[in-house]
């Protein structure tokens, strides 16, 4: 098989699985549906490994597989850009997707929409692969919208639940804002570069570095800054950056496998990937980079705070995801694209692990998601316990585990950066370490250690019944003892735990400081020296681990864990006191900085108000009366007329023909 067909196999295998499971789901049954989709993703994963080895051997590919339409100079084509950046993403996407597919067998086993669900996640895998493998903006946008679409479908998977519908709508609307920016950016690229092909655009970018456009009269903006910021607004929507982050926590309404695959490991990182891919453009605009870094820093710190007070196990992980996405964004802003991708990769492993483990806990707790009702689960769910612990340790940056290498590199990169806003970013990511450690271990201690609270949680739980992750109910009535999940659930946990441990150690050197990314990522080392600084201080993974024991982030992490231990294991009465003492602060956090309130008040309320006004005079009089009803009336009248003429009498028809001829003669002859 030649490489091109191998490239094609990667996205098409999951697509085939999705089509078969979606269209013939009823006839092939549940087993058939999961077999065919898992097979598709497995094939895709194996092909990705082959491609990875081929790329390591130095074979990259950039070209159109087929041209859809050629019109003048612009040709719309489906093409692949296979380089080292792409292959990393392909491996991550297919590996996590594979794990999630297997996990889903256990998680969704009682659901009616079993086949539909498998079809959706395979379709998602296809779209995500098309997105990362694209060699042009059009296909990127296609993948972008396709992953978004599947994500809405999956958030609203349990469409009978009102909260799911609300979350779905929210995700859709917020992403429209981002997509609007993204589309404008692509439009500007097409207008000024005359091409949508990455290679051509990047090649031409330096010549347009000093081009400026005026958006408002007299205010000249650097063209590239505008393009980059617009593109980044798209990334903000998809990667849930402040202030477009509001949809991600709500998206936890979807089934847990989705939270792991889409809302932690892959789709939300599409924005990060896109910015890294566009590095030749972003490198030319310091303003855009500063913007990126500040947005990322805000997200990293403030979303972490929110994670500290959540009681829903999935929401804790969700806010942690937001915060980690902020870290990646900060890395992008510091021109440390390879670090961002590195963190993206390690994060994909340990965050998917955390989500799946959380899902396993949820299964074990018979679909109770409130961590206050847990405790002492260590005994009952040993595998889940150990894997979740590994994930948490990786997340907080325990030296030696994967998260440590990527996160520490980000922190170092911000120290090295001298762009506007880097000081704030450095503070934010450093402080974030403490926050991360605190909320991670707060959850860990509450879930696995301490008193077993699930026996007396009936009352509390019943009130929160609406928060149940799932409809498929409580097997066997009330709350029995938690139990370890079936092997299809814990096997993916183990699989994901392995890279969560070693991926950092093994890959930091080649990915960050070796020439791994080569031409795939472009960094202007003279202007943005973060990466070269980092390389300068790097003396191997082992040295980095040892060195870290003497640095601030490590001790902050330790402090975070210790604080969590003290508050939730030793002095269990303290959190309540603190909450009462810091009433205002707690309220602010509990209200998520009032974003939802504000959105409800400003957007929903404002829209209602505006809508009411517009409706009253705009719609009712102008649009409804004149345009809609008017045009509907015209169309209706015309259609009625046409229908009247269509009387069914031959002589009417013949007469119409004769009149037609007579008119043609009258008009054209003479």
């Amino acid at each position: 098989m030649d490489m091109q067909s191998l490239y094609l196999t990667v996205p098409l295998a999951p697509l085939a699985g999705a089509l078969v499971a979606g269209l013939f789901g009823r006839s092939i049954g549940r087993t058939g549906a999961h077999l065919v989709t898992i097979l598709g993703v497995l094939v895709s994963f194996l092909a990705s490994i082959l491609i990875f080895q081929d790329v390591l051997a130095g074979n990259t590919f950039n070209g159109a597989l087929y041209t859809w339409i050629t019109s003048g100079d612009v040709s719309l084509e489906i093409g692949f850009l296979i380089d080292r950046l792409t292959t990393v993403m392909m491996l991550v996407v297919t590996f996590v997707s594979l794990c999630v597919h297997v996990y889903t067998i256990g998680y969704m086993s009682d659901d009616d929409g079993y086949q539909r669900f498998f079809s959706y996640i395979s379709l998602f895998t296809f779209s995500m692969l098309m997105l990362v493998m694209s060699n042009n903006f059009l296909q990127l946008f296609f993948g972008w919208e396709a992953v978004g679409l599947v994500s809405y479908l999956l958030i609203g998977f349990w469409y009978t639940r009102e909260s799911a519908i609300y979350a779905n709508l929210k995700a859709f609307l917020v992403n429209r804002v981002g997509d609007f920016g993204f589309l404008l950016g692509i439009g500007l690229v097409l207008a000024y570069f005359g091409s949508l092909d990455y290679a051509q655009v990047f090649q031409k970018a330096p010549t347009l570095a000093h081009e400026s456009i005026s958006i408002l009269d007299g205010h000249a903006w650097s063209l590239l800054t505008v393009i980059c910021i617009l593109l980044f607004i798209g990334a903000m929507g998809k990667s849930a950056q402040f202030p477009l982050h509001v949809w991600l926590p709500d998206s936890m309404e979807g089934p847990t496998p989705i939270s792991a695959l889409i809302h932690a490991a892959t789709m939300v990182t599409a924005g990060i990937f896109m910015v890294a891919r566009m590095s030749p453009l972003f490198e030319l605009s310091d303003t855009a980079l500063s913007f990126v870094m500040i947005i990322g820093a805000i997200t990293a710190l403030f979303m972490g705070f929110l994670g500290m007070i959540q009681n829903d196990i999935k929401r804790v992980v969700a806010y942690s995801t937001l915060s980690q996405l902020g870290y990646m964004t900060v890395a992008l802003g510091a021109s440390a694209y390879s670090v961002a991708i590195f963190h993206l990769m390690t994060h994909a492993f340990f965050k998917a692990l955390l989500f799946l483990a959380a899902g396993s806990v949820i299964i074990g707790m018979h679909h109770d998601q409130d961590i206050r009702n847990m405790g002492g689960l260590r005994k009952y769910m040993p595998i889940t316990w150990i894997t979740l612990l590994i994930g948490s340790l990786a997340l907080i940056g325990t030296p030696g585990l994967s998260g440590f290498f990527s996160k520490d590199s980000i922190i170092l990169a911000t120290y090295a950066s001298d762009l506007y806003g880097s000081g704030f970013a450095a503070f934010a990511v450093t402080a974030g370490v403490f926050v991360t450690a605190f909320y991670s271990f707060r959850m860990y201690f509450l879930v696995f250690h301490g008193k077993e609270r699930f026996h007396n949680a009936h009352a509390g739980h019943d009130q929160e019944g609406g928060k149940d992750d799932d409809q498929h109910g409580h097997h066997g009535g009330g709350h029995g003892t938690p139990h370890e999940s079936p092997w299809v659930v814990w096997l993916p946990l183990v699989l994901l735990a392995i890279p969560s441990v070693y991926a950092g150690w093994a890959y930091i050197e080649p990915m960050l400081f070796g020439d791994y990314f080569g031409g795939a990522i472009f960094v202007n080392h003279e202007a943005h020296k973060a990466m070269s600084d980092l390389a300068h201080h790097f003396h191997g993974a082992g040295a980095m681990t040892l060195h870290a024991l003497m640095t601030l982030p490590f001790w902050l992490a330790v402090a975070g864990v210790a604080t969590a231990y003290y508050l939730y294991m030793v002095r269990r009465d303290l959190p309540e006191k603190i909450r009462r003492q810091a009433g205002v602060l707690y309220t602010i956090l509990d209200q998520k900085y009032g974003f939802d309130r504000f959105n409800d008040w400003f957007f929903a309320g404002g829209a209602r108000w505006l809508g009411g006004r517009l409706w009253r005079w705009g719609d009712v009089t102008a649009i409804d009366g004149v345009m809609v009803n008017g045009s509907a009336r015209v169309v209706g009248q015309f259609a009625r007329l046409a229908r009247g003429l269509q009387s069914g009498y031959i002589y009417h028809y013949a007469f119409a023909m004769i009149i037609g001829v007579a008119l043609l003669v009258t008009v054209f002859v003479g």
Partner: protein, 481 residues
């Protein structure tokens, strides 16, 4: 006085089809074996396809004293005609059997109609053009009326026949004008004579009006479209399927032969006439389709609008326009085969899946059929990435290329209106509750498979339109020189 035998090789497909049609008549008369007739019809069409592909070459060959031409465009269109006819015959087997018209005559008439189309496609003389048209029309009239128990079918046949006769009269009158002006019926000679200049441009325009009117009737363009909804509606659906597909290719060939091969020098005159007809067709077709509750009528009006679109490509008068129109004709036939094929497939004895309401909730009864129908509707509406989109796009491009931007704008506008009623079908299938639950009877596996292939072809050609477009452009290039 000796007369050299004309070269029969280029006309071998026609001879084959005629001979086997007669064989089928004999089988029907003596053995009454409709099944054998059915199989033989398919074999005939396949054989003709083989012969056409085999005898076809890059060169245009004239024979029968210059009345018959075998060229690349003709070969491509003929191959597509066989394909459409085969597909239509396979789709309609179950339908015909259930309604008692699964008879040898039906298949003989199908073959005669195909022969008529082939004659039209290969005509290079007004006489053969006209005779081919009549052969086709006569077969179609008979096919419509064949279901004698159906009052609607008989009425439709009557209308079709009378109006068709009127249209033939108009066409012949126009042809006589052309003959009077040029003194010849040979299309190439007419073209040459027109190039030298005629004594009276007014008479030329006068004759053109009648010729174009006859052409408009055949294609189903407004204001000569009135027969289309009634005939499509009244005819047995299997016959509608046949009328709505392959003959459109022949009508396209008819237009190309007559207007381009023969009347190219008068392009300025007929361009305006076609523009009027195209705009009227798109307007009436798309607007009237919105009001329909019967899917056959809806598709009939959709045909009218599609044929209006097809005219746009021809009237652009450029090489790109002709190629685009050819692509459009082929794409339309594919979509239309699927659309009517679905109606035929879903119709069971005593139950016609004719009303739009019958499609409510199709998705829950058969997701696969609903998906295929969805593809077809999206394609007809011109939504990417299906073939209908590309077909419309090339036409629009050729229009803009020819400087007819206002027509392109109108075309887009009417297409947008048109998208409404196609999408309504999708809405019915996916979002409305079905009248009757229960899966669709999964009989006639061959038809189901072909229908699936049909839908996939619409998708695949949309994803990769270039090969077919290249084929059309190449054939056009070779034929027009």
């Amino acid at each position: 006085m000796t007369y050299p035998l004309p070269d029969l090789l280029p006309a071998l497909p026609e001879i084959l089809v005629l001979t086997l049609a007669c064989v089928i008549l004999v089988i029907e008369a003596f053995f009454k074996d409709a099944k054998a007739a059915y199989v033989l019809t398919l074999l005939t069409l396949l054989g003709a396809a083989g012969v056409t592909a085999f005898t076809g070459g890059e060169m245009s060959v004239h024979t029968f004293n210059g009345m018959f031409v075998d060229d690349a465009m003709g070969d491509v269109l003929k191959l597509m005609t066989y394909l459409a006819a085969i597909t239509a015959v396979v789709y309609s087997r179950g339908y015909l059997a259930e309604r008692g018209i699964f008879k040898g005559e039906y298949f003989a008439l199908v073959l005669f109609a195909v022969l008529g189309m082939m004659v039209m496609i290969s005509a290079s003389h007004l006489l053969t053009l006209y005779l081919g048209l009549e052969l086709l029309s006569l077969s179609l009239y008979a096919m419509v009326a064949l279901h004698r128990e159906s009052q609607a079918a008989v009425e439709a046949a009557m209308k079709y026949f009378v109006l068709g006769a009127l249209a033939s009269g108009l066409l012949l009158y126009g042809m006589s004008m052309l003959y009077g002006l040029t003194g010849t019926l040979d299309l190439a000679q007419i073209s040459a004579a027109l190039r030298e200049g005629v004594s009276s441009p007014v008479v030329l325009a006068f004759g053109l009006v009648f010729v174009v009117a006859g052409l408009g009737f055949k294609l189903g363009n407004a204001p000569f479209h009135m027969w289309v909804p009634d005939v499509y509606h009244g005819a047995p659906t299997a016959v509608t399927l046949f009328i709505g597909t392959a003959p459109k290719l022949a009508a396209f060939a008819f237009a190309m032969r007559l207007l381009v091969d023969g009347l190219e020098p008068a392009h300025g005159d007929w361009q305006q006439m076609l523009a009027v007809m195209a705009v009227l067709s798109m307007a009436i077709g798309n607007l009237a389709a919105i009001m329909q509750t019967n899917i056959k009528r809806m598709l009939a009006y959709s045909t009218i609008s599609h044929m209006g679109f097809l005219l746009l490509g021809i009237l652009a008068g450029t090489f790109a326009g002709y190629s685009a129109a050819m692509f459009y004709a082929i794409a339309y036939v594919l979509m239309s085969l699927g659309g009517f094929g679905m109606v035929v497939y879903l119709s069971r004895a005593g139950y016609e899946a004719e009303n739009l309401d019958d499609y409510k909730g199709l998705n829950s009864r058969s997701p696969w059929l609903a998906a295929v129908m969805g593809i077809l509707m999206f394609s007809m509406a011109g939504i990417p990435p299906f073939v209908g989109f590309y077909a419309k796009l090339t036409i629009l491009q050729s229009l803009v290329g020819a400087g007819l931007v206002w027509l392109a704008v109108l075309a887009v506008l009417f297409s947008l209106i048109g998208a409404f009623y196609y999408l309504r079908v999708i809405k019915l299938m996916y979002f409305d509750a079905p009248h009757s639950t229960g899966a669709v009877a999964a009989e006639a596996g061959d038809a189901r498979m072909l229908l699936s292939l049909n839908g996939l072809a619409v998708l695949l050609l949309g994803l990769a339109p270039q090969p077919l477009m290249a084929l059309c452009a190449n054939a056009m290039q070779l034929s027009l020189q």
